[in-house]
Protein backbone atom coordinates (compact mmCIF):
# COMPACT_ATOMS: atom_id res chain seq x y z
CA UNK A 1 0.00 0.00 0.00
CA UNK A 2 2.69 2.47 1.06
CA UNK A 3 4.74 1.21 -1.87
CA UNK A 4 2.10 2.53 -4.28
CA UNK A 5 1.85 5.84 -2.46
CA UNK A 6 5.59 6.34 -2.81
CA UNK A 7 5.56 5.09 -6.41
CA UNK A 8 2.78 7.58 -7.22
CA UNK A 9 4.80 10.40 -5.75
CA UNK A 10 7.87 9.37 -7.79
CA UNK A 11 5.87 9.31 -11.00
CA UNK A 12 4.36 12.70 -10.25
CA UNK A 13 7.79 14.09 -9.55
CA UNK A 14 9.04 12.78 -12.90
CA UNK A 15 6.18 14.18 -14.91
CA UNK A 16 6.10 17.50 -13.07
CA UNK A 17 9.63 18.20 -14.20
CA UNK A 18 10.46 18.69 -17.87
CA UNK A 19 13.02 15.89 -17.64
CA UNK A 20 10.59 13.02 -18.21
CA UNK A 21 8.91 14.71 -21.17
CA UNK A 22 12.23 15.67 -22.69
CA UNK A 23 13.60 12.14 -22.34
CA UNK A 24 10.44 10.62 -23.82
CA UNK A 25 10.54 13.02 -26.78
CA UNK A 26 14.23 12.56 -27.53
CA UNK A 27 14.10 8.76 -27.23
CA UNK A 28 11.01 8.62 -29.39
CA UNK A 29 12.62 10.73 -32.06
CA UNK A 30 15.90 8.80 -32.16
CA UNK A 31 14.21 5.40 -32.13
CA UNK A 32 11.78 6.53 -34.83
CA UNK A 33 14.72 7.57 -36.99
CA UNK A 34 16.30 4.13 -36.54
CA UNK A 35 12.98 2.52 -37.31
CA UNK A 36 12.65 4.35 -40.60
CA UNK A 37 16.19 3.36 -41.61
CA UNK A 38 15.43 -0.29 -40.81
CA UNK A 39 12.20 -0.23 -42.78
CA UNK A 40 13.95 1.43 -45.69
CA UNK A 41 16.73 -1.18 -45.66
CA UNK A 42 14.22 -3.98 -45.50
CA UNK A 43 12.35 -2.64 -48.50
CA UNK A 44 15.62 -2.41 -50.44
CA UNK A 45 16.57 -6.02 -49.77
CA UNK A 46 13.08 -7.53 -49.73
CA UNK A 47 13.16 -8.66 -53.42
CA UNK A 48 16.45 -10.52 -52.99
CA UNK A 49 15.33 -12.02 -49.66
CA UNK A 50 12.19 -13.36 -51.29
CA UNK A 51 14.20 -15.90 -53.24
CA UNK A 52 16.12 -17.23 -50.23
CA UNK A 53 15.12 -20.20 -48.14
CA UNK A 54 14.82 -19.39 -44.40
CA UNK A 55 15.10 -15.70 -45.13
CA UNK A 56 14.68 -13.31 -42.18
CA UNK A 57 11.14 -11.96 -41.91
CA UNK A 58 10.15 -8.39 -41.22
CA UNK A 59 10.21 -8.95 -37.45
CA UNK A 60 13.83 -10.15 -37.61
CA UNK A 61 14.89 -7.46 -40.01
CA UNK A 62 13.16 -4.50 -38.37
CA UNK A 63 12.05 -5.18 -34.80
CA UNK A 64 15.16 -6.98 -33.50
CA UNK A 65 17.68 -4.35 -34.67
CA UNK A 66 15.36 -1.64 -33.41
CA UNK A 67 15.19 -3.09 -29.90
CA UNK A 68 18.90 -3.67 -29.98
CA UNK A 69 19.58 -0.01 -30.76
CA UNK A 70 17.01 1.17 -28.23
CA UNK A 71 18.72 -0.83 -25.49
CA UNK A 72 22.04 0.92 -26.11
CA UNK A 73 20.39 4.35 -25.98
CA UNK A 74 18.52 3.44 -22.82
CA UNK A 75 21.74 2.23 -21.23
CA UNK A 76 22.74 5.87 -21.26
CA UNK A 77 19.35 7.32 -20.39
CA UNK A 78 18.20 5.15 -17.46
CA UNK A 79 21.08 6.22 -15.17
CA UNK A 80 19.98 9.83 -15.70
CA UNK A 81 16.43 8.94 -14.72
CA UNK A 82 17.45 6.86 -11.72
CA UNK A 83 20.19 9.10 -10.34
CA UNK A 84 18.00 11.32 -8.21
CA UNK A 85 15.76 8.60 -6.73
CA UNK A 86 17.42 8.52 -3.32
CA UNK A 87 20.43 10.80 -3.58
CA UNK A 88 18.36 13.92 -4.19
CA UNK A 89 16.17 13.18 -1.20
CA UNK A 90 19.25 12.73 0.92
CA UNK A 91 20.68 15.98 -0.35
CA UNK A 92 17.57 18.06 0.20
CA UNK A 93 16.79 16.44 3.56
CA UNK A 94 13.40 15.12 2.47
CA UNK A 95 14.50 11.55 3.11
CA UNK A 96 13.80 12.12 6.81
CA UNK A 97 10.13 12.48 5.91
CA UNK A 98 10.15 8.85 4.77
CA UNK A 99 12.47 7.72 7.55
CA UNK A 100 10.29 9.09 10.34
CA UNK A 101 7.03 7.89 8.77
CA UNK A 102 5.73 4.42 9.68
CA UNK A 103 7.12 2.96 6.46
CA UNK A 104 9.69 0.19 6.17
CA UNK A 105 12.86 0.51 4.12
CA UNK A 106 11.55 -2.22 1.82
CA UNK A 107 8.45 -0.19 1.06
CA UNK A 108 10.54 2.90 0.35
CA UNK A 109 12.86 1.04 -2.03
CA UNK A 110 10.06 -0.85 -3.78
CA UNK A 111 8.01 2.33 -4.12
CA UNK A 112 10.86 4.24 -5.70
CA UNK A 113 11.71 1.34 -7.98
CA UNK A 114 8.13 0.86 -9.06
CA UNK A 115 7.71 4.56 -9.82
CA UNK A 116 10.69 4.55 -12.16
CA UNK A 117 9.71 1.20 -13.67
CA UNK A 118 6.26 2.46 -14.62
CA UNK A 119 7.85 5.40 -16.42
CA UNK A 120 10.22 3.08 -18.27
CA UNK A 121 7.36 0.79 -19.23
CA UNK A 122 5.53 3.75 -20.74
CA UNK A 123 8.65 4.41 -22.77
CA UNK A 124 8.80 0.73 -23.78
CA UNK A 125 5.17 0.88 -24.86
CA UNK A 126 5.85 3.88 -27.08
CA UNK A 127 8.83 2.13 -28.67
CA UNK A 128 6.84 -1.08 -29.24
CA UNK A 129 4.18 0.88 -31.12
CA UNK A 130 6.62 1.41 -33.99
CA UNK A 131 7.13 -2.23 -35.07
CA UNK A 132 3.47 -2.87 -34.23
CA UNK A 133 2.49 -0.26 -36.79
CA UNK A 134 3.85 -2.62 -39.51
CA UNK A 135 0.80 -4.78 -38.74
CA UNK A 136 -1.10 -2.60 -41.15
CA UNK A 137 0.91 -3.69 -44.19
CA UNK A 138 2.39 -7.08 -43.38
CA UNK A 139 2.32 -10.10 -41.12
CA UNK A 140 4.36 -9.95 -37.94
CA UNK A 141 5.85 -12.77 -35.95
CA UNK A 142 4.12 -11.93 -32.66
CA UNK A 143 6.07 -14.53 -30.69
CA UNK A 144 9.37 -12.96 -31.69
CA UNK A 145 8.02 -9.48 -31.10
CA UNK A 146 6.80 -10.41 -27.64
CA UNK A 147 10.10 -12.04 -26.80
CA UNK A 148 11.90 -8.85 -27.84
CA UNK A 149 9.58 -6.62 -25.80
CA UNK A 150 9.99 -8.90 -22.80
CA UNK A 151 13.76 -8.77 -23.21
CA UNK A 152 13.85 -4.98 -23.39
CA UNK A 153 11.45 -4.75 -20.43
CA UNK A 154 13.62 -7.01 -18.28
CA UNK A 155 16.69 -5.11 -19.36
CA UNK A 156 15.11 -1.81 -18.34
CA UNK A 157 14.13 -3.35 -15.00
CA UNK A 158 17.73 -4.39 -14.46
CA UNK A 159 19.05 -0.95 -15.44
CA UNK A 160 16.63 0.71 -13.03
CA UNK A 161 17.55 -1.59 -10.13
CA UNK A 162 21.27 -0.98 -10.59
CA UNK A 163 20.64 2.75 -10.94
CA UNK A 164 18.55 2.81 -7.77
CA UNK A 165 21.30 1.08 -5.84
CA UNK A 166 23.91 3.54 -7.06
CA UNK A 167 21.60 6.35 -6.05
CA UNK A 168 21.50 5.09 -2.45
CA UNK A 169 25.29 5.22 -2.27
CA UNK A 170 25.82 8.95 -2.69
CA UNK A 171 24.34 12.34 -2.02
CA UNK A 172 25.42 13.59 -5.46
CA UNK A 173 22.96 12.63 -8.21
CA UNK A 174 25.57 13.11 -10.93
CA UNK A 175 27.98 10.73 -9.20
CA UNK A 176 25.15 8.21 -9.00
CA UNK A 177 24.44 8.62 -12.72
CA UNK A 178 28.04 8.20 -13.79
CA UNK A 179 28.69 5.21 -11.56
CA UNK A 180 25.53 3.41 -12.62
CA UNK A 181 26.37 4.10 -16.26
CA UNK A 182 29.84 2.67 -15.64
CA UNK A 183 28.46 -0.41 -13.91
CA UNK A 184 25.92 -1.08 -16.64
CA UNK A 185 28.41 -0.56 -19.43
CA UNK A 186 30.87 -2.89 -17.74
CA UNK A 187 28.20 -5.58 -17.43
CA UNK A 188 27.28 -4.93 -21.05
CA UNK A 189 30.72 -5.51 -22.45
CA UNK A 190 32.00 -7.99 -19.87
CA UNK A 191 31.56 -10.88 -22.34
CA UNK A 192 34.09 -9.28 -24.68
CA UNK A 193 36.76 -10.32 -22.23
CA UNK A 194 37.88 -13.91 -21.90
CA UNK A 195 36.62 -14.85 -25.33
CA UNK A 196 39.90 -16.67 -25.90
CA UNK A 197 39.97 -18.52 -22.60
CA UNK A 198 37.66 -21.51 -22.56
CA UNK A 199 37.57 -21.71 -18.74
CA UNK A 200 36.34 -18.20 -17.99
CA UNK A 201 34.42 -17.38 -21.11
CA UNK A 202 31.13 -19.04 -19.93
CA UNK A 203 31.28 -17.08 -16.66
CA UNK A 204 31.69 -13.77 -18.45
CA UNK A 205 29.00 -14.67 -20.91
CA UNK A 206 26.64 -15.57 -18.11
CA UNK A 207 27.30 -12.27 -16.32
CA UNK A 208 26.80 -10.18 -19.42
CA UNK A 209 23.57 -8.21 -19.72
CA UNK A 210 24.00 -8.26 -23.49
CA UNK A 211 24.15 -12.02 -24.04
CA UNK A 212 20.89 -12.78 -22.28
CA UNK A 213 19.22 -9.97 -24.15
CA UNK A 214 20.58 -11.21 -27.47
CA UNK A 215 18.96 -14.61 -27.19
CA UNK A 216 15.59 -13.08 -26.30
CA UNK A 217 15.86 -10.80 -29.34
CA UNK A 218 16.46 -13.80 -31.56
CA UNK A 219 13.17 -15.15 -30.25
CA UNK A 220 14.68 -17.82 -28.02
CA UNK A 221 12.73 -17.76 -24.79
CA UNK A 222 15.01 -19.37 -22.27
CA UNK A 223 13.95 -19.48 -18.60
CA UNK A 224 17.59 -19.05 -17.60
CA UNK A 225 17.68 -15.63 -19.26
CA UNK A 226 14.53 -14.46 -17.54
CA UNK A 227 15.79 -15.76 -14.21
CA UNK A 228 19.09 -13.98 -14.78
CA UNK A 229 17.31 -10.64 -15.03
CA UNK A 230 15.01 -11.34 -12.09
CA UNK A 231 18.01 -12.31 -9.94
CA UNK A 232 19.82 -9.18 -11.08
CA UNK A 233 16.86 -6.98 -10.11
CA UNK A 234 16.27 -8.68 -6.75
CA UNK A 235 19.96 -8.52 -5.87
CA UNK A 236 20.19 -4.79 -6.45
CA UNK A 237 16.91 -4.09 -4.69
CA UNK A 238 18.10 -6.03 -1.63
CA UNK A 239 21.40 -4.12 -1.76
CA UNK A 240 19.44 -0.86 -1.87
CA UNK A 241 17.34 -1.81 1.15
CA UNK A 242 20.46 -2.78 3.08
CA UNK A 243 22.17 0.44 2.07
CA UNK A 244 19.23 2.56 3.16
CA UNK A 245 19.13 0.72 6.47
CA UNK A 246 22.84 1.28 6.92
CA UNK A 247 22.31 4.98 6.26
CA UNK A 248 20.84 5.26 9.75
CA UNK A 249 23.89 3.61 11.27
CA UNK A 250 26.62 5.80 9.89
CA UNK A 251 26.77 9.15 8.21
Amino acid sequence: MMTFTIAGRELRHLFLSPLAWCVLAVIQFIVAWMFLIQVDNFLKFAPSLAGMANAPGVTDAVAAPLFSTASVILLMVVPIMSMRLVSEERRSGTLSLLMSAPVSMTEIVLGKYLGLLIFLLVMLGLITLMPLSLMVGTHLDYGKLFSGVLGLGLLLGAFAAAGLFMSTLTKQPVVAAISSFGLLLLLWIISWAGSGDARFSPVFHYLSLLDHYGSLLRGTFNTADVIYYLLFIITFLVFSIRQLDAYRLQH
Binding site: T5, H13, L16, S92, L95, S100, A101, P102, V103, Q250
Partner: protein, 350 residues
Protein backbone atom coordinates in the same frame (compact mmCIF):
# COMPACT_ATOMS: atom_id res chain seq x y z
CA UNK B 1 8.45 55.78 42.56
CA UNK B 2 9.28 52.38 41.26
CA UNK B 3 9.47 49.65 43.81
CA UNK B 4 10.05 46.24 42.38
CA UNK B 5 9.27 43.17 44.40
CA UNK B 6 10.61 44.45 47.65
CA UNK B 7 10.70 41.91 50.42
CA UNK B 8 7.65 39.95 49.44
CA UNK B 9 8.61 38.43 46.24
CA UNK B 10 11.75 36.52 46.94
CA UNK B 11 10.58 32.97 47.29
CA UNK B 12 10.45 32.00 43.64
CA UNK B 13 7.34 33.80 42.47
CA UNK B 14 8.92 36.18 40.01
CA UNK B 15 7.43 34.77 36.92
CA UNK B 16 3.93 34.95 38.28
CA UNK B 17 2.22 34.54 34.97
CA UNK B 18 4.38 32.01 33.19
CA UNK B 19 6.08 29.87 35.76
CA UNK B 20 3.28 29.41 38.26
CA UNK B 21 0.79 28.44 35.60
CA UNK B 22 3.21 25.97 34.14
CA UNK B 23 4.24 24.52 37.47
CA UNK B 24 0.60 23.84 38.39
CA UNK B 25 0.26 22.18 35.04
CA UNK B 26 3.29 20.10 35.84
CA UNK B 27 2.16 19.09 39.32
CA UNK B 28 -1.11 18.01 37.76
CA UNK B 29 0.95 15.80 35.52
CA UNK B 30 2.76 14.32 38.51
CA UNK B 31 -0.52 13.44 40.16
CA UNK B 32 -1.82 11.82 37.05
CA UNK B 33 1.41 9.92 36.54
CA UNK B 34 0.79 6.49 35.16
CA UNK B 35 2.28 4.45 32.38
CA UNK B 36 -0.34 5.75 29.99
CA UNK B 37 1.08 9.21 30.29
CA UNK B 38 4.63 8.20 29.60
CA UNK B 39 5.14 9.03 25.94
CA UNK B 40 8.87 8.84 25.50
CA UNK B 41 11.38 6.98 27.59
CA UNK B 42 15.01 7.18 26.65
CA UNK B 43 17.53 4.99 28.43
CA UNK B 44 21.30 5.40 28.33
CA UNK B 45 21.49 6.62 24.80
CA UNK B 46 24.90 6.76 23.12
CA UNK B 47 25.85 7.82 19.64
CA UNK B 48 29.31 7.74 18.15
CA UNK B 49 30.48 9.19 14.85
CA UNK B 50 33.63 7.14 14.38
CA UNK B 51 35.59 8.05 17.52
CA UNK B 52 33.68 11.20 18.26
CA UNK B 53 30.97 10.73 20.83
CA UNK B 54 28.08 13.01 19.92
CA UNK B 55 25.67 11.83 22.63
CA UNK B 56 26.64 9.98 25.78
CA UNK B 57 24.54 8.31 28.42
CA UNK B 58 21.42 10.35 27.79
CA UNK B 59 18.31 9.31 29.72
CA UNK B 60 15.07 11.20 30.05
CA UNK B 61 11.33 10.89 29.89
CA UNK B 62 8.49 12.83 28.33
CA UNK B 63 4.94 12.75 29.61
CA UNK B 64 1.70 13.81 28.07
CA UNK B 65 1.07 17.52 28.27
CA UNK B 66 4.72 18.41 28.61
CA UNK B 67 6.76 20.65 26.38
CA UNK B 68 10.34 19.63 26.81
CA UNK B 69 12.98 22.09 25.72
CA UNK B 70 16.36 20.82 24.64
CA UNK B 71 18.85 23.55 25.08
CA UNK B 72 22.45 23.55 24.04
CA UNK B 73 25.09 25.38 22.02
CA UNK B 74 25.75 24.40 18.44
CA UNK B 75 27.22 20.94 18.17
CA UNK B 76 25.97 19.89 21.60
CA UNK B 77 24.19 16.84 20.22
CA UNK B 78 20.67 18.25 20.05
CA UNK B 79 20.02 17.38 16.44
CA UNK B 80 21.64 13.97 16.82
CA UNK B 81 19.27 13.24 19.71
CA UNK B 82 16.27 14.45 17.71
CA UNK B 83 17.29 12.30 14.76
CA UNK B 84 17.62 9.26 16.98
CA UNK B 85 14.22 9.88 18.57
CA UNK B 86 12.60 10.13 15.15
CA UNK B 87 14.23 6.96 13.84
CA UNK B 88 16.43 8.74 11.31
CA UNK B 89 19.58 7.71 13.07
CA UNK B 90 20.30 4.47 14.88
CA UNK B 91 21.78 4.90 18.36
CA UNK B 92 25.12 3.23 19.07
CA UNK B 93 23.72 1.98 22.38
CA UNK B 94 20.66 2.52 24.49
CA UNK B 95 16.92 2.19 24.18
CA UNK B 96 14.14 4.46 23.00
CA UNK B 97 10.54 3.67 23.90
CA UNK B 98 7.80 5.64 22.17
CA UNK B 99 4.43 5.11 23.79
CA UNK B 100 5.86 1.94 25.31
CA UNK B 101 7.00 0.57 21.94
CA UNK B 102 10.69 0.05 21.28
CA UNK B 103 11.73 2.20 18.32
CA UNK B 104 14.38 -0.28 17.19
CA UNK B 105 12.39 -3.48 17.62
CA UNK B 106 9.13 -2.27 16.11
CA UNK B 107 10.01 0.81 14.12
CA UNK B 108 6.74 0.97 12.19
CA UNK B 109 4.50 0.92 15.26
CA UNK B 110 6.69 3.31 17.18
CA UNK B 111 7.03 5.73 14.28
CA UNK B 112 3.30 6.01 13.81
CA UNK B 113 3.23 7.91 17.12
CA UNK B 114 5.86 10.42 16.03
CA UNK B 115 5.70 13.63 14.09
CA UNK B 116 9.11 15.02 13.25
CA UNK B 117 10.29 18.33 11.88
CA UNK B 118 14.01 18.21 11.05
CA UNK B 119 16.21 21.30 11.03
CA UNK B 120 15.52 21.70 7.35
CA UNK B 121 11.80 21.27 6.59
CA UNK B 122 11.48 18.11 4.47
CA UNK B 123 9.29 19.63 1.78
CA UNK B 124 9.14 18.97 -1.95
CA UNK B 125 9.43 22.23 -3.83
CA UNK B 126 7.50 20.92 -6.85
CA UNK B 127 4.30 20.09 -4.97
CA UNK B 128 1.56 22.41 -3.78
CA UNK B 129 0.88 22.60 -0.05
CA UNK B 130 -2.28 20.52 -0.42
CA UNK B 131 -0.62 17.82 -2.52
CA UNK B 132 2.28 17.64 -0.12
CA UNK B 133 0.12 17.36 2.99
CA UNK B 134 -2.01 14.69 1.31
CA UNK B 135 1.12 12.70 0.59
CA UNK B 136 2.35 13.08 4.18
CA UNK B 137 -1.03 12.03 5.55
CA UNK B 138 -1.04 8.93 3.37
CA UNK B 139 2.53 8.08 4.35
CA UNK B 140 1.42 8.25 7.97
CA UNK B 141 -1.51 5.96 7.23
CA UNK B 142 -4.30 8.45 7.77
CA UNK B 143 -7.44 6.66 6.47
CA UNK B 144 -8.65 7.96 3.13
CA UNK B 145 -12.00 9.22 4.45
CA UNK B 146 -10.28 11.28 7.15
CA UNK B 147 -7.62 12.62 4.84
CA UNK B 148 -9.18 15.90 3.88
CA UNK B 149 -10.23 16.64 7.46
CA UNK B 150 -6.73 15.97 8.72
CA UNK B 151 -5.31 18.22 6.03
CA UNK B 152 -7.73 21.06 6.73
CA UNK B 153 -7.06 20.80 10.44
CA UNK B 154 -3.29 20.87 10.06
CA UNK B 155 -3.52 23.78 7.64
CA UNK B 156 -5.73 25.72 10.00
CA UNK B 157 -3.50 25.18 12.98
CA UNK B 158 -0.41 26.25 11.10
CA UNK B 159 -2.02 29.22 9.36
CA UNK B 160 -1.72 27.76 5.87
CA UNK B 161 -5.31 28.12 4.74
CA UNK B 162 -4.54 30.81 2.19
CA UNK B 163 -1.64 29.04 0.51
CA UNK B 164 -3.08 25.56 -0.08
CA UNK B 165 -2.83 25.85 -3.85
CA UNK B 166 0.60 27.40 -4.02
CA UNK B 167 3.80 25.57 -4.86
CA UNK B 168 5.92 25.02 -1.78
CA UNK B 169 9.01 26.10 -3.69
CA UNK B 170 7.49 29.57 -4.15
CA UNK B 171 6.69 30.06 -0.47
CA UNK B 172 8.85 32.05 1.91
CA UNK B 173 11.07 30.34 4.45
CA UNK B 174 8.57 31.05 7.21
CA UNK B 175 5.74 29.42 5.32
CA UNK B 176 7.90 26.43 4.40
CA UNK B 177 8.67 26.03 8.09
CA UNK B 178 4.95 26.04 8.82
CA UNK B 179 4.37 23.44 6.13
CA UNK B 180 7.06 21.40 7.88
CA UNK B 181 5.20 21.69 11.18
CA UNK B 182 1.86 20.88 9.51
CA UNK B 183 3.49 17.74 8.14
CA UNK B 184 4.59 16.75 11.65
CA UNK B 185 1.13 17.09 13.21
CA UNK B 186 -1.12 15.96 10.36
CA UNK B 187 -1.65 12.47 11.80
CA UNK B 188 -2.03 13.91 15.35
CA UNK B 189 0.87 11.89 16.75
CA UNK B 190 1.36 11.44 20.48
CA UNK B 191 4.84 12.90 20.30
CA UNK B 192 5.86 15.90 18.23
CA UNK B 193 9.59 16.41 17.78
CA UNK B 194 10.64 19.81 16.50
CA UNK B 195 14.26 20.57 15.71
CA UNK B 196 14.83 24.33 15.99
CA UNK B 197 11.33 25.22 14.81
CA UNK B 198 11.74 28.99 14.88
CA UNK B 199 15.01 29.34 13.03
CA UNK B 200 14.83 31.76 10.15
CA UNK B 201 11.44 33.20 11.01
CA UNK B 202 10.56 36.83 11.59
CA UNK B 203 9.44 37.94 15.08
CA UNK B 204 5.73 37.80 14.26
CA UNK B 205 6.02 34.31 12.81
CA UNK B 206 8.09 33.24 15.81
CA UNK B 207 5.31 34.38 18.10
CA UNK B 208 2.71 32.51 16.05
CA UNK B 209 4.77 29.34 16.01
CA UNK B 210 5.29 29.58 19.77
CA UNK B 211 1.56 29.91 20.30
CA UNK B 212 1.06 26.91 18.08
CA UNK B 213 3.60 24.87 20.05
CA UNK B 214 2.00 25.83 23.36
CA UNK B 215 -1.31 24.66 21.95
CA UNK B 216 0.21 21.41 20.72
CA UNK B 217 1.61 20.83 24.19
CA UNK B 218 -1.91 20.55 25.58
CA UNK B 219 -2.79 17.40 23.67
CA UNK B 220 0.56 15.99 22.62
CA UNK B 221 3.97 15.65 24.15
CA UNK B 222 6.34 18.06 22.49
CA UNK B 223 10.12 17.91 22.37
CA UNK B 224 11.83 20.87 20.85
CA UNK B 225 15.45 21.78 20.51
CA UNK B 226 16.74 25.29 20.41
CA UNK B 227 19.67 27.46 21.27
CA UNK B 228 17.44 30.44 21.92
CA UNK B 229 17.07 30.77 25.67
CA UNK B 230 14.01 33.04 25.92
CA UNK B 231 12.16 30.57 23.71
CA UNK B 232 12.53 27.92 26.38
CA UNK B 233 11.44 30.36 29.05
CA UNK B 234 8.30 31.26 27.12
CA UNK B 235 6.99 27.90 26.03
CA UNK B 236 8.61 24.95 27.75
CA UNK B 237 7.37 23.25 30.88
CA UNK B 238 10.62 21.39 31.36
CA UNK B 239 14.16 22.18 30.38
CA UNK B 240 17.12 19.99 29.61
CA UNK B 241 20.47 21.52 28.99
CA UNK B 242 22.81 19.43 26.92
CA UNK B 243 26.44 20.15 26.27
CA UNK B 244 29.03 18.05 24.45
CA UNK B 245 26.55 15.20 24.30
CA UNK B 246 25.88 15.03 28.03
CA UNK B 247 22.83 16.09 29.98
CA UNK B 248 23.91 18.85 32.34
CA UNK B 249 20.60 19.93 33.71
CA UNK B 250 17.07 18.57 33.78
CA UNK B 251 14.37 20.38 35.71
CA UNK B 252 10.96 21.96 35.45
CA UNK B 253 10.72 25.57 34.45
CA UNK B 254 9.89 26.62 38.03
CA UNK B 255 13.02 24.84 39.18
CA UNK B 256 14.95 26.75 36.61
CA UNK B 257 13.34 29.98 37.72
CA UNK B 258 14.40 29.31 41.27
CA UNK B 259 17.88 28.66 40.12
CA UNK B 260 17.82 31.95 38.36
CA UNK B 261 17.48 33.80 41.66
CA UNK B 262 20.58 35.63 42.37
CA UNK B 263 21.92 37.06 45.56
CA UNK B 264 21.99 40.70 44.67
CA UNK B 265 19.80 43.78 44.69
CA UNK B 266 20.12 46.97 42.74
CA UNK B 267 19.36 50.12 44.69
CA UNK B 268 18.75 53.49 43.07
CA UNK B 269 18.20 56.67 45.07
CA UNK B 270 17.54 60.30 44.29
CA UNK B 271 20.53 61.34 46.40
CA UNK B 272 23.82 59.49 46.33
CA UNK B 273 23.59 56.63 48.88
CA UNK B 274 26.56 56.05 51.10
CA UNK B 275 28.11 52.64 50.90
CA UNK B 276 29.25 52.30 54.48
CA UNK B 277 25.74 52.48 55.94
CA UNK B 278 24.47 49.82 53.60
CA UNK B 279 27.50 47.66 54.25
CA UNK B 280 26.78 47.75 57.95
CA UNK B 281 23.38 46.14 57.52
CA UNK B 282 22.97 42.47 58.50
CA UNK B 283 23.25 39.77 55.75
CA UNK B 284 24.92 42.16 53.33
CA UNK B 285 28.10 40.67 51.89
CA UNK B 286 29.37 43.51 49.74
CA UNK B 287 28.30 46.69 48.03
CA UNK B 288 29.45 47.92 44.68
CA UNK B 289 28.85 51.31 43.05
CA UNK B 290 27.23 51.19 39.64
CA UNK B 291 27.00 54.95 39.17
CA UNK B 292 26.44 58.00 41.34
CA UNK B 293 22.90 57.04 42.30
CA UNK B 294 22.96 53.29 41.98
CA UNK B 295 24.48 50.51 44.07
CA UNK B 296 24.58 46.76 43.71
CA UNK B 297 24.13 45.00 47.01
CA UNK B 298 25.27 41.39 47.22
CA UNK B 299 23.89 39.46 50.17
CA UNK B 300 24.25 36.04 51.75
CA UNK B 301 22.24 33.29 50.10
CA UNK B 302 18.80 32.44 51.52
CA UNK B 303 18.55 35.76 53.35
CA UNK B 304 16.78 38.88 52.31
CA UNK B 305 18.03 42.28 53.37
CA UNK B 306 15.64 44.17 51.09
CA UNK B 307 13.41 45.32 53.90
CA UNK B 308 16.34 46.51 56.00
CA UNK B 309 17.83 48.31 53.00
CA UNK B 310 14.54 50.08 52.30
CA UNK B 311 14.21 51.12 55.96
CA UNK B 312 17.80 52.41 55.97
CA UNK B 313 17.25 54.46 52.83
CA UNK B 314 14.08 55.98 54.23
CA UNK B 315 15.81 56.72 57.53
CA UNK B 316 18.66 58.53 55.80
CA UNK B 317 16.24 60.36 53.51
CA UNK B 318 18.06 59.41 50.28
CA UNK B 319 14.83 59.08 48.35
CA UNK B 320 14.23 55.50 47.28
CA UNK B 321 13.65 55.25 43.52
CA UNK B 322 14.28 51.62 42.84
CA UNK B 323 15.06 48.42 44.68
CA UNK B 324 15.23 45.49 42.33
CA UNK B 325 16.18 41.90 42.96
CA UNK B 326 18.57 40.90 40.24
CA UNK B 327 17.97 37.60 38.54
CA UNK B 328 20.48 35.49 36.73
CA UNK B 329 19.53 35.28 33.16
CA UNK B 330 19.12 31.90 31.59
CA UNK B 331 22.22 32.82 29.63
CA UNK B 332 24.12 33.13 32.87
CA UNK B 333 22.97 29.73 34.11
CA UNK B 334 23.77 28.24 30.79
CA UNK B 335 27.24 29.72 30.72
CA UNK B 336 27.80 28.66 34.35
CA UNK B 337 26.77 25.10 33.65
CA UNK B 338 28.78 24.72 30.48
CA UNK B 339 31.80 26.43 31.99
CA UNK B 340 31.65 24.18 35.06
CA UNK B 341 31.50 21.20 32.77
CA UNK B 342 34.57 22.30 30.88
CA UNK B 343 36.47 22.94 34.10
CA UNK B 344 36.12 19.37 35.35
CA UNK B 345 38.35 17.58 32.83
CA UNK B 346 40.99 20.26 33.21
CA UNK B 347 41.15 19.67 36.95
CA UNK B 348 41.44 15.97 36.35
CA UNK B 349 44.25 16.56 33.93
CA UNK B 350 46.09 18.70 36.49
Amino acid sequence: MRLYGVGICFGGCHEQNGAVALSTQFSHVIYAMSNNDLLVKVENLYRYYDDHCAVQDLSFELRKGEILGFLGPNGAGKSTTMQMLSGNLAPSAGRILINGVDLLDEPKRAKSAIGYLPEQPPVYADLTVDEYLNYCARLNRVPRNKLSNARQDAKERCGLKEVGHRLIGNLSKGYQQRVGIAQAIIHSPAVVILDEPTVGLDPIQIREIRTLITELGKEHGVILSTHILPEVQTICSRVQIIHKGRLLYNDTLSGLTQRMQSTSLVLACRLAPEMKFINALPDVKSVETLDEHRLRITFIAHTNPAEAVAAEVVKRGWGLLELTPERKSLEQIFVDLTAADEAVPEEQAA
